[in-house]
Symmetry: C2
Amino acid sequence: MSTIVAVGSLAFDSIETPFGHVEQALGGSANYFSLGASYFTKVQCISVVGEDFPDSHLQTLKDRGVDTRGIQRARGKTFHWAGRYGYDLHDAQTLNTCLNVFEHFNPEVPEEFRDSEFVFLGNVAPQLQLKVLGQIRRPKCVALDSMNFWISGQREALIEAIRRVDVVIINDGEARQLTQTHNIVEAARNVLAWGPKVLVVKRGEYGALLFDRGEMFSLPGLPLAEVKDPTGAGDSFAGGFLGYLASEEDTGNAALRRAVVYGCVVASFTVQDFGFASLMSQSRGAIEERYRKFVELTRFHV
Amino acid sequence: MSTIVAVGSLAFDSIETPFGHVEQALGGSANYFSLGASYFTKVQCISVVGEDFPDSHLQTLKDRGVDTRGIQRARGKTFHWAGRYGYDLHDAQTLNTCLNVFEHFNPEVPEEFRDSEFVFLGNVAPQLQLKVLGQIRRPKCVALDSMNFWISGQREALIEAIRRVDVVIINDGEARQLTQTHNIVEAARNVLAWGPKVLVVKRGEYGALLFDRGEMFSLPGLPLAEVKDPTGAGDSFAGGFLGYLASEEDTGNAALRRAVVYGCVVASFTVQDFGFASLMSQSRGAIEERYRKFVELTRFHV
């Protein structure tokens, strides 16, 4: 079992959906990733929060086994994201992104984290992702997530970061925007030509698609009778996905396929409630039970 | 092996996509269904064409083993549909629907067809679907397809038809529109409460979803490097799906799951070219080869 060093945001989110809205909810890519991965392995979290961020939430992360020594507290306000979802609960429309303490964030990876072999570069500025990666001594499997904010604002820097990683995890709209092509197979060819061995395309309620050195794997989403809030689904997917790989210390094709299933399992819990209420209250047994639901959902005799 | 009696349209289609357009192309739900099913069993086709419909195309259907004795030729023009697809090639925007000879169509099922146990009620007016069904002596498995044109125009009549069938095959947007609910699991519950045992939800590039007496099965679509025209994908899906079931004379859950795969196989050929050029030029071997691609695409170790 390997630990994972993960950089990403801790944030306050304001979210509108047709089924309700929340203001200043705790969130962020590092939060959702860490909680998702916590069912599989120990996450060493790198992030920054402002003076307004509650200590109690850092304790919540610790209670899930997350190592919070890499989370700095800086003067000013915590990162804030405001978004809105329509009835399809698919792509978020970003209403506002306030970087706040992330504007002057200089990530410092604690000495105790630097021998981790699994690294997650969550959705923060590409240069911050590379600053973290540069401090890891012998990374074996580096996964990167990003979003439209960076694709439209810092595309070249993002591609530079992508050239340095093994696995890219983005959603279908982002894959198309990043590669400036419509067809998803074509988009995958472009991303893999930049260097990564693996691309995972997240597709919301439609599951996920894996491109791994010439092989494709596709998993449909689990149809749920109630979906409340997709925020954090993608980051918690990445947590389940990379958490499983790190726990097995295996990045072969069979492990990658299973990791996609675990990613979708974790994301399916996330969307069932606002924020991370459902995500953080599962057990490993509940994870395995839902894994079997995916087996039931997808099996057919050859 | 059972034959299938299938009613549906034979049509001229005018189609715009971002990748090209065609005018007055041969099409229609009966055409795509029959060609899709022709790889599995004999289809007995019920339809009507106008004076402008070419004999050569009836010969094309016969060459694929389709029994065309139930196709009437009437005074006037053949059914015409005009539609447009955007870059996602997902839902068609209907630009124009001219029923023409379908306005006064009185379907007559030839005596030789009336003992068929498998029936496909393709996308025509609900009362025409019921007129055909009423002429079948001992139907064992009746599947119905429809589209937004009838859902918005004749919803009550359509629900009456649905109450009489075993399998409903529609796309996700239609399922939501028909049941006036957003969630697809909820939509399925509503449709099955009307009487059918099985609902198949077609999802375009995302594959298909099967609800069968409490069990769910989901198959992702096969990612294709080139998709030219989705017209007929849904009807040819139904052809592969019901064609397989009729060829096996089996409607158990395992057969239904395999039938969904065959439906997606056939539809994946349809979309690779405009019209039915690709759909009609396959072999049973090519169908089986692509079935194995779906196995490769979806398998994971438990």
